[in-house]
């Protein structure tokens, strides 16, 4: 089995290399420094989201509400600053909202035992609806003078590297540390591998599951802040886009099996590179939005089919209602 996993990573990497090579040769304007920086900048947010998703997927869950966590709390920060609150107070409120949201998700999944896909589908709608009705005046929350200085989170360079990429790197290091160096990380893998065995062993599975969703929501909020800083606004309608499928695509293509317990940060990085290259290439080829979605959908479908062959579902530990 270990051999298989390794080869899947290799395959994806080969796909990435091949795609990159083909685009470099056939697409004018692909292999330029400018385009490379754009590509990396564009995928940085996607990559951070991929890391967030990876944590729950490794723990045998999924978080469809991630885009709501990306859009609403950062949007709240911008809105509050616009309304005259101070930046730290706004940030604190947003973080508290995110933690509360993560707790609700985690509680629903761990304690109320609602299937994760289902719970997060509904909570995502709830949070987005809350933002739409109660928090924001406009669909796109604008930058205001009170935010000055904060845009450095997404714009400019640090030591010659674009800041958003540095943020992605920092997120990678943090998540890698969490997953590989802490006891909680080991617990997440154990729960993803076999939830019942994990519980019998004495791992506090329910609190750990709640923790997963809180961390995921926080990373999602961080990605949203980076996004807002880089475009100087928060387009909250992003919730209605297909961004969440890109995130799932990153995770699944990268080789983190949906049945849990496998993969790590490296898989997210590889997945992000493949998707970034693909999206960039399609944009240069001027494929329409719907056409891009169609292609992404088909690729995702193929990825899921491959995943189901490489990481078949464990029928013994699959739960009733685990759809």
């Amino acid at each position: 089995m270990k051999h298989f996993r390794f080869s899947q990573q290799e395959i994806v990497f080969v796909v990435f290399a091949g795609l990159f090579l083909v685009f470099s040769i056939f697409l004018r304007g692909f292999l330029t420094t400018d385009n490379m920086l754009t590509l990396l900048q564009n995928v940085a947010v996607l990559g951070i989201l991929g890391l967030a998703m990876a944590i729950v997927v490794i723990g045998r869950g999924i978080d469809i509400s991630l885009i709501a966590a990306l859009a609403v709390p950062p949007g709240l920060v911008l809105q509050m600053v616009q309304n005259g609150h101070s930046l730290p107070a706004s940030l604190l409120t947003a973080v508290l909202l995110t933690i509360a949201f993560g707790l609700v998700n985690g509680w629903l999944i761990a304690y109320a035992e609602v299937p994760s896909l289902f719970a997060t589908l509904a909570t995502g709608l709830l949070l987005a609806g809350l933002g739409q009705t109660a928090l924001f005046q406009l669909d796109v929350v604008q930058w205001s003078p009170g935010m000055d200085g904060f845009e450095k989170l997404g714009q400019g360079t640090i030591l010659g590297i674009p800041t958003s990429i540095v943020m992605f790197a920092i997120a990678c290091v943090v998540v890698a540390f969490l997953l590989r160096q802490t006891r909680w990380g080991a617990y997440i893998y154990a729960i993803g591998d076999n939830p019942f065995a994990a519980r019998v062993t004495g791992i506090p599975s329910r609190p750990i599951i709640v923790l997963q969703y809180v961390i995921t929501a926080l990373i999602g909020c961080f990605a949203g802040l980076v996004l807002a800083a880089s475009v100087n606004s928060m387009p909250t309608r992003i919730f209605n886009s297909t961004l969440i499928y890109d995130v799932i695509l990153v995770v699944v293509l990268g080789g983190i099996g949906l049945s849990g317990g496998r993969g790590g940060v490296l898989n997210v990085v590889i997945g992000t590179l493949v998707i970034g290259t693909m999206l960039n290439g399609m944009t240069i080829m001027d494929i329409s939005y719907a056409g891009q979605n169609l292609i992404k959908g088909v690729v995702l479908l193929l990825a899921v089919i491959t995943d189901s062959f490489l990481n078949p579902r464990n029928e013994e530990t699959a739960q009733q209602g685990d759809i």
Partner: protein
């Protein structure tokens, strides 16, 4: 005073109904229906014209369209999957219908056929992926949702102008969209027809059962030979077809292909499905639940729209309802049996005076002795649970066994034993009729007849259902003992209608009159309930007058007489009450008196507990079953009583070694044969001064042996 109040409270307040109602499957549908009524009432009060015909017809049209999609989703959810792509399939098939009609100009029947086919194909993609390739339903349909939506977006970019500019004027097409029959919209009519078929399909037809079975347990369904993969795939196809039917009506009603058609539809339909009470994860659900769920969701969204709520509020409301419904459903499914088992046992007030003494030296009819000490054992260790014993005129001994057989021990020495007949359920009371057929009460099965050559025939296993009972009491749960009148009428007792045979001590804990006496007419084959509300009726014996039966109420600790003919027909009269033990079978003795077995003796603790229903209910809720206070059944005796209810003689085994626990006895040619339902032997006791030629049923039918 307090006792009187307690007794009144427990006599008139139906505690037992809660558990019975909860264990009914329709309660799960009843909750959404009540919710629907509440919402409907609230909306009709707060919104004007809510119940006007026009408004209702409009609601019916929308409900019909969404209802079709919900039916498809219900099917998929029952089989254990989920279909999120319905919104996109809806949009694509809507486009397909309008494209064929407006751009290609096809006739309406062809449009309908092609649209349905299109829906089937789109569903088949899901079906193949999920059924045959065994992908996860949620993620797969989420992906096909995007793919179909993108395809739809690409298509309407090209054709939306052509469709928007066409104004087809086809009467049949308009009839589909806007027509009505007697004021009922077409779509609602078609929905009703399909829903009725769907109900029959799911509950009465084999494929429907297969679907439920797969949803309940995929692996078990596979092991029992159901084509799991094909059935699952076909469910998705059906979902696609049903969605396309909804889209057809939508297309003919509005005729548009806007960009947001079907967006978010899956959440609406999913909410409806879960709210109706169809369990996520499969195995449970019905058409009625789906329809109720659709109506609730539609009323809520329409109500919110009428009250000018913003779009976000609508979405939040739906998501919130979805979450709460899913949570309630999941918790309920998980804890259902536990809750029911906690509330099902509903003890009542049962007061008995202090029992007559049985102590040696105290005198009285029940004074203990040691007459049964030297009882012989027949078939020791070779037979299990002979509840009743009976002998034929050739002295062969018949007894039931726990394995569902009637065992015959052959005269004269009863060493040789054979299986006379195999029935399959625990045989209890037995009696011979005039033609030497052996009638047997079988616990859990009913009344059976065994012909002299050993052929087993069912006499009856159901009686008339009483209208006021929540539990279906038409089936016989625990037929216990019987006797046959001269006219060929068989009276038999059913000990309880609330518990299965293995739970009989729990019925004693309840001490409610759950039992009844039923008659079966051997001439007409008719079964009729004669008496209800008896406390564990058990032994039955036709009295010497030929017009009444004597029956024992085990937990009533009494013997009663019921007149089935003659001047006192229908009357019930107490013969003996306040017995010191729990009476079981009654049989005729050779001297014209009656034999009665006391299966166990009363204990002061249970007598006291019977007066404290609250105590017993708390015990049933909080203490594990093994620790419950149950009637004592390990010592007992045989007594003989006369027509007036006076005890003539009693037979005890003080040490309880040779024949512990007696449930029945049968006198035959000067011997008394003893049966016990927990015994591994049959006892035989030599009677003094008994008629050496007495054969009970030959005596009854006036035959000479």
């Amino acid at each position: 005073m307090r006792d009187t109040l307690t007794s009144l409270r427990y006599r008139y307040w139906p505690d037992h109904l809660l558990g019975e109602i909860l264990s009914k499957r329709w309660t799960e549908t009843a909750i959404p229906v009540i919710l629907l009524l509440i919402i409907g009432l609230a909306l009709s009060r707060s919104i004007d014209n809510f119940l006007s015909p026009a408004s209702l017809a409009d609601t019916a049209r929308q409900a019909g369209e969404i209802g079709f999609i919900a039916l498809g989703l219900a099917l998929v959810v029952i089989v254990g999957g989920i279909d999120l792509s319905v919104g996109s399939i809806f949009a694509l098939t809507d486009f397909c219908a309008l494209y064929c009609l407006d751009v290609l100009g096809w006739p309406v029947p062809a449009v309908v056929a092609v649209t349905l086919l299109c829906g089937a194909l789109l569903g088949a993609v899901n079906g193949v992926l999920i059924g045959y390739l065994r992908l996860r339903a949620f993620i797969t349909t989420l992906i096909t949702l995007i793919i179909y939506r993108s395809a739809y977006d690409l298509l309407i970019q090209r054709y939306s102008n052509a469709i928007a500019s066409a104004f087809p004027d086809i009467p049949s097409w308009d009839f589909i969209g806007a027509g009505s029959v007697f004021g009922v919209p077409t779509v609602a009519l078609v929905y009703i027809v399909i829903a009725i078929f769907g109900h029959i399909f799911l509950t009465r037809l084999r494929p429907g059962w297969h679907i439920t079975a797969i949803g309940g347990s995929r692996r078990s369904a596979y092991n029992s030979g159901i084509p799991v993969r094909r059935t699952i795939a076909l469910c998705y196809v059906a979902s696609g077809v049903l969605t396309s039917i909804g889209a057809l009506f939508f297309a003919s009603r509005l005729g548009t292909v806007g960009g947001d058609i079907g967006v978010g539809l899956e959440v609406i339909v999913l909410t409806a499905t879960v709210l109706g009470g169809i369990t996520l994860g499969g195995g449970k659900g019905s058409v009625a639940k789906s329809a109720v769920g659709v109506l609730i969701v539609l009323l809520i969204t329409n109500g919110l729209t009428t009250m000018n709520a913003r779009g976000g509020v609508n979405r939040m409301a739906l998501a919130g309802i979805l979450l709460v419904a899913a949570m309630v459903d999941i918790r309920w499914q998980k804890n259902r049996t536990r809750i029911i088992s906690k509330v099902y046992v509903a003890p009542t007030y049962h007061s008995l005076p202090p029992p007559p003494s049985t102590e040696i030296g105290q005198g009285g009819p029940f004074e203990q002795n040691d007459k049964l000490r030297n009882v012989e054992s027949i078939g020791l260790g070779r037979i299990e649970a002979p509840e009743d014993v009976i002998l034929d005129r050739h002295d062969n001994l018949y007894a039931g066994s726990r394995h569902g057989d009637i065992i015959r021990f052959l005269a004269p020495d009863y060493q040789k034993m054979e299986v006379f007949a195999h029935i399959g359920g625990q045989p209890l009371g037995m009696a011979f009729d005039r033609a030497d057929n052996l009638y047997v009460c079988i616990g859990g099965m009913g009344l059976y007849r065994i012909t002299p050559d050993g052929t087993v025939e069912k006499a009856t296993d159901e009686t008339n259902r009483s209208m006021r009972s929540v539990n279906d009491d038409s089936r016989l749960r625990l037929a216990d003992d019987l006797d046959i009148t001269d006219d060929g009428l068989i009276f038999f007792s059913e000990a309880t209608v609330r518990y299965e045979m293995d739970e009989w001590p729990v019925d004693g804990l309840e001490a409610r009159g759950n039992g009844r006496i039923i008659s079966y007419d051997t001439k007409t084959g008719a079964t009729r309930t004669e008496l209800r509300g008896l406390k564990f009726p058990n032994g039955i014996c036709v009295a010497s007058d030929g017009q009444s039966i004597l029956f024992a109420e085990t937990f009533g600790c009494s013997i009663k007489r019921y007149w089935f003919a003659g001047p006192k027909k229908g009357a019930v009269e107490v013969v003996m009450d306040n017995l010191p033990g729990y009476p079981d079978n009654i049989n005729l003795a050779s001297d014209g008196n009656y034999w009665l077995a006391l299966v166990g003796m009363r204990s002061p603790s249970l007598d006291l507990a019977w007066k404290m229903p609250g105590f017993r209910r708390r015990m049933a809720k909080r203490v594990p079953v093994d620790e419950w206070l149950f009637p004592n059944i390990n010592t007992g005796c045989v007594v003989k009583f006369n027509e007036q209810g006076k005890i003539v003689e009693s037979f005890w085994d003080l040490r309880g070694e040779n024949h512990p626990m007696i449930t029945s006895m049968r006198e035959h040619r000067g011997y008394l044969y003893l049966g016990g339902i927990l015994n591994n032997r049959i006892g035989r006791y030599k009677l003094d001064n008994a008629d050496p030629n007495f054969v009970q049923y030959d005596n009854r039918w006036g035959k000479q042996s």
